[in-house]
């Protein structure tokens, strides 16, 4: 399967939904049980089982990763157009494609923290795809903070933009500039330098490496860096990609002129990083592909349905609390450091926050709106709670998730009005929106715990014996 075409994919997803046992809440023959599916009436399920819920969840995992893959391919196309002809217009389109690519991916993060492909997918000695703890592509796809000085030129800012360990920098300063150490820039080079020197800040691949190559450091509008940030994101010049080949003009590295070869290498890096991102995403998509994906098959097994349900809820809880409220929001708020801001080059962190929260809500509601607007709706945990005789709890979590979304929408809207997240964590009158969202996430986590309790999926289902599931 070389390229997934949008249209083909929609068909696949539709076919998949038609193939699931249980009720997708759609009437008639488009429903899950075809003509037999009489229960589905306008999205209200009368009878939903755990099995239905985990199947829906698995299909939506496939859909959200497939969307991420499609958007990454669209990004690659725009990047190729851009480096061939680096005009301001094509640069702008390339950045828009990156932002668009983040939309589905942000909603996929609820599929982390549950021993799934994104965290654990790897190839064994025989080349088979398997799951092994912590061996997955997540870091290569989405790791941050990123010591950008390893990749390309930087302007010294606040002492916080350095590699953890100066000794892990290449002799020539950075990969793009160091032609001696890295004569060829391709996927293999980027992969080999990932976590160079075992320094976890040395992130060379993934969304944020591409982001840095498109935006550059997030300096102030006047190109300086001071403690008081402004609303502007990074401002890399299109001339950083001018080459003799594309006949746009003199290659630059920021303010300084640079040799033609540097811009060629920068372009190569950009395209290779996009290719790598596509490869990594595709491996996750394949694992989740309904019918054929090995993890899809494992996840929907009847005999382990309780474990699968526990995994879904664990992912929701761990993303809500530790990852989103904790690492992505509270630390940035406390330290007031751009280094602790997720998408710091593009100032797109407000979307990361909103979309991560949205993913949790999606999972609970058994719903996902695809990038092309198609609404996927299947059996939900909400339905399951109702069927289990817990309608109050179902509504309680639905309310908590809606409250979080309302609070996160404030961060999102404020950013769209010109106060990016890095400004919001700095200005006292804007910090409240961040704190409120953190508190809402904490509250929803408490309710998720109640749901785990109510559905009788204890952590024991997940951890099993430490011999099996520890770590």
């Amino acid at each position: 399967m070389n390229t997934i075409k949008n249209i083909a994919l929609s068909f696949v997803a539709a076919a998949v939904l038609a193939g699931c046992g249980g009720d997708d809440g759609k009437d008639g023959i488009a429903g899950a049980q075809g003509v037999a599916g009489q229960n589905g009436a306008n999205g209200t399920s009368v009878f939903v089982t755990t099995q239905d819920v985990i199947k829906t969840n698995a299909q939506h995992a496939y859909a959200v990763y497939a969307d991420s893959l499609i958007a990454a391919k669209a990004l690659k196309e725009q990047l190729a157009i851009f480096v061939a002809n680096p005009s301001d217009e094509s640069f702008s389109l390339a950045k828009k494609a990156w932002l668009a690519a983040r939309e589905p991916y942000g909603q996929s993060e609820v599929f982390r923290f549950r021993e799934g492909p994104i965290d654990n997918l790897t190839q064994d000695a025989a080349g088979n795809w398997v799951l092994a703890p912590e061996a997955g592509p997540e870091g290569a796809i989405n790791a941050w903070p990123l010591a950008e000085a390893l990749i390309d030129y930087t302007q010294d800012m606040d002492g916080l933009q350095n590699p953890e360990n100066p000794s892990t920098l290449p002799a020539g300063g950075n990969i793009i500039a160091d032609i001696d150490s890295f004569p060829v820039i391709d996927k293999a080079t980027i992969q080999a330098q990932f976590e160079r020197g075992d320094d976890e800040a040395n992130v060379t691949s993934g969304y944020h490496a591409i982001e840095f190559l498109l935006w550059g450091q997030d300096l102030n509008a006047d190109g300086t860096y001071t403690a008081n940030r402004d609303y502007s994101a990074g401002y890399r010049k299109a001339s950083d990609f001018y080459t003799v080949g594309n006949q746009m003009g003199q290659c630059t590295s920021g303010e300084a002129g640079a040799a033609n070869v540097i811009c060629i290498r920068r372009s190569q890096y950009l395209l290779a990083a996009a290719d790598l991102l596509i490869d990594d995403l595709k491996s996750v998509v394949d694992a989740w592909t309904p019918g054929t994906g090995f993890h899809y098959q494992a996840f929907i097994k009847e005999e382990t349905q309780k474990q699968s349900l526990a995994k879904i809820l664990e992912g929701m809880g761990r993303l809500s609390y530790g990852e989103l409220a904790g690492e992505r929001m509270s630390i940035a708020l406390r330290t007031d450091s751009q280094e602790d801001e997720h998408s710091c080059f593009s100032d797109n962190t407000h979307r990361d926050i909103f979309l991560n929260a949205k993913g949790i809500q999606n999972t609970f509601n058994g719903q996902y709106v695809r990038f092309d607007g198609e609404v996927l709706q299947g059996a939900s945990i909400y339905n399951l709670l109702v069927v289990a005789g817990k309608p109050e709890l179902a509504n309680k979590l639905r309310g908590a998730l809606e409250d979080t979304m309302a609070k996160a929408a404030v961060i999102d809207t404020t950013a769209k009005l010109g106060y990016s997240f890095d400004v919001q964590i700095q200005q006292p009158e804007l910090k409240g929106a961040v704190t409120n969202t953190i508190e809402a996430l904490k509250t929803q986590t408490q309710v998720i715990k109640e749901v785990i309790e109510a559905l009788g999926v204890t952590t024991g289902d997940l951890e099993g014996d430490t011999d099996e599931f520890g770590g």
Binding site: A132, D156, D158, S167, E339, D340, T459, T466
Partner: protein, 552 residues
């Protein structure tokens, strides 16, 4: 405990007041109250004695329930399984991890590395620079005078990097630079050169060891004190430290045998010091020389000393009163996180929690489906006991209740005033292979010399280096209550994954040993006999012992 056969007998020896030595079979006539001497090595943990030949049923779970199944490059970076599904604790752990990896505003002026993780590479060991031209970034030299007091100018550790306004890259040392220019350069540049020592096992198989010679140049703040002592330290791994912290003091002191009552030539010594914040006398169980009582004390000292990040436990910048350039630079640091400190109490508490909850990797060589060990692992384990390695590297302990942080319970946005013990770490049977006591490991050092690059004696100037040469493991630098030949037994758990986590990592306190075999061969002093037994083993037995150690 497993000290040969005697230990399987009752260990309470009642000696009469007249002494029980070489009596002629007559009962003494004068009866005084008997003196009860408890032989070392009997912790009151309710566990049956550990067999030298048969592993415990759950021995593969080195950290008890705090064991991770991850055995790849991230083996030392995992949280205890019990907190993964506790969303709040998982969140605290995760925030601590982020801070542990990240750089801080207000770092410096003097530091060895800007981040915790920069030294504790992938939460594992640091490394020796690959050449004298590379500055030390995950190891450093401790420094003192002959009595172990801090050097008046340099304090107790040589920080390689300094800072200058407007330049964020660490500033390497420059001879006299801080004095001449008033700039906070790094303190001094240290490096290591190795001499090869040849030796052979009893069966004639030869080996080579690297004997280190430490050299220091580019002293930026003036000369060292005339009786200077140096002690190189490579960053140790930190996983499992929360479990070690939770071993009851009485269990550890039960192994202490300062007067060698049992006559086995091994005399572990317990050290008690005053714990910061609580002010209580506690067993010093952390640090290469058993200097600190807790993970909190250890990390707060590392923040200040290694990174130049002040905190509530260690609030003073690491400039000494003699380092005016450092003091001036510190005053330029306006960006404090909380109450004039670089690191907030919350940040410190989260990092403490993170450190304490890092899990121990599961043992390899165990087939959990059939509950069987590889034969070589079991054979090597028996050799480990037979050679008396287990006299200091005590295989098994049981934790008590893991006390709460002295700082309070960390959340996401604040530290609560409550103090909740950490259930995940409590009452665990663990297999760390350490007694956490001080032992005399032998060796000695020559007086530190001043030499040129050519090895000629000199007295001053940029080309006149300080050179330390030692025999054996000694560093000749007293520290706390430890002498210049004493070291705290390090835990061995995770030993076989050290190079999986960091391929460049080496072994022992200063990384001189390139592999586990070399590390054993450097043992001396109280471990001389154990080392001799290792050398006397057949090649096959040595391989079995190493297979066992690699399975840890």
């Amino acid at each position: 405990m497993m000290k040969k056969n005697a230990l399987l007998l009752s260990m309470i020896v009642v000696l009469s007041a007249c002494g029980g030595s070489g009596s002629q079979g007559k009962a003494p006539e004068v009866v005084s109250p008997p003196v009860v001497i408890v032989m070392p090595g009997q912790p009151d943990d309710g566990l049956a004695p550990l067999s030298a030949t048969t592993p415990d049923p759950k021995e593969h779970l080195a950290g008890g329930e705090v064991t991770t199944q991850v055995i790849n490059q991230d083996a030392f970076s995992q949280s205890a399984p019990a907190i993964r599904s506790n969303f709040e604790l998982d969140g605290v752990f995760k925030s601590g991890d982020h801070l542990f990896r990240g750089v801080h505003v207000g770092q410096g002026p003097l530091f060895n590395n800007p981040t915790c993780q920069g030294c504790h590479i992938k939460d594992g060991r640091g490394e020796v620079p690959s050449s004298p031209d590379e500055a030390m970034t995950s190891m450093f030299l401790r420094i003192s005078d002959g009595q172990g007091n801090p050097d008046l100018i340099y304090g107790d550790q040589i920080q390689t990097f300094g800072m200058k306004e407007g330049q964020s890259q660490g500033l390497l040392p420059k001879h006299g630079g801080a004095i001449d220019e008033g700039i906070a350069y790094g303190e001094a540049y240290a490096w290591v050169e190795y001499q090869t020592i040849a030796g052979q096992f009893d069966d004639g198989q030869t080996y080579q060891l690297r004997k280190p010679i430490y050299k220091v140049k580019d002293l930026a703040y003036g000369d060292f004190n005339p009786d200077v002592r140096l002690s190189p330290r490579v960053t140790p791994s930190i996983f499992g430290s929360g479990l070690l912290h939770a071993i009851p003091e009485a269990s550890i002191t039960s192994y202490a045998d300062p007067d060698d009552i049992d006559g086995d030539g091994i005399s572990g010594r317990a050290v008690f010091v005053t714990e910061p914040i609580s002010g209580q006398q506690k067993l010093a169980r952390f640090g290469y020389k058993a200097l600190t009582t807790s993970v909190l004390e250890q990390i707060s000292g590392a923040y200040r000393g290694d990174m130049g990040i002040t905190n509530i436990v260690a609030p003073q910048e690491s400039c000494t009163s003699e380092q005016t350039a450092c003091i001036a630079q510190a005053q330029l640091e306006q960006d404090k996180e909380q109450d004039g400190l670089d690191l907030s109490v919350l940040g410190l508490a989260q990092v403490e929690f993170y450190n304490r909850l890092l899990a121990v990797p599961v043992r390899r060589g165990f087939d959990s489906a059939n509950q069987t060990w590889q034969a070589d692992v079991v054979a090597g384990r028996a050799l480990f006991f037979a050679a008396q390695c287990a006299s200091c590297h005590i295989p098994r302990h049981k934790t008590g209740e893991a006390e709460a942080s002295l700082l309070g319970d960390a959340g996401l946005l604040e530290v609560a005033p409550s103090h909740t013990p950490i259930a995940a770490l409590s009452n665990q049977v663990i297999y760390p292979y350490t007694d956490l006591l001080l032992h005399d490991m032998g060796g000695s050092c020559a007086t530190i010399e001043r030499e040129t690059a050519q090895g000629e004696a000199c007295t001053q100037g940029a080309q006149c280096y300080w050179v330390q040469r030692c025999e054996g493991l000694a560093d000749d630098r007293p520290e706390g209550s430890a002498s210049g030949t004493e070291w705290r037994t390090p835990p061995l758990w995770g030993l076989g994954l050290v190079n999986t986590v960091n391929a460049r990592a080496t072994y022992l306190h200063d990384g001189r040993a390139r592999n586990i075999s070399e590390a054993i061969l450097w043992h001396g002093g109280e471990a001389e006999k154990a080392k001799a037994q290792f050398k006397a083993m057949s090649a096959n037995e040595r391989q079995q012992l190493l297979t066992f150690l690699t399975s840890l």
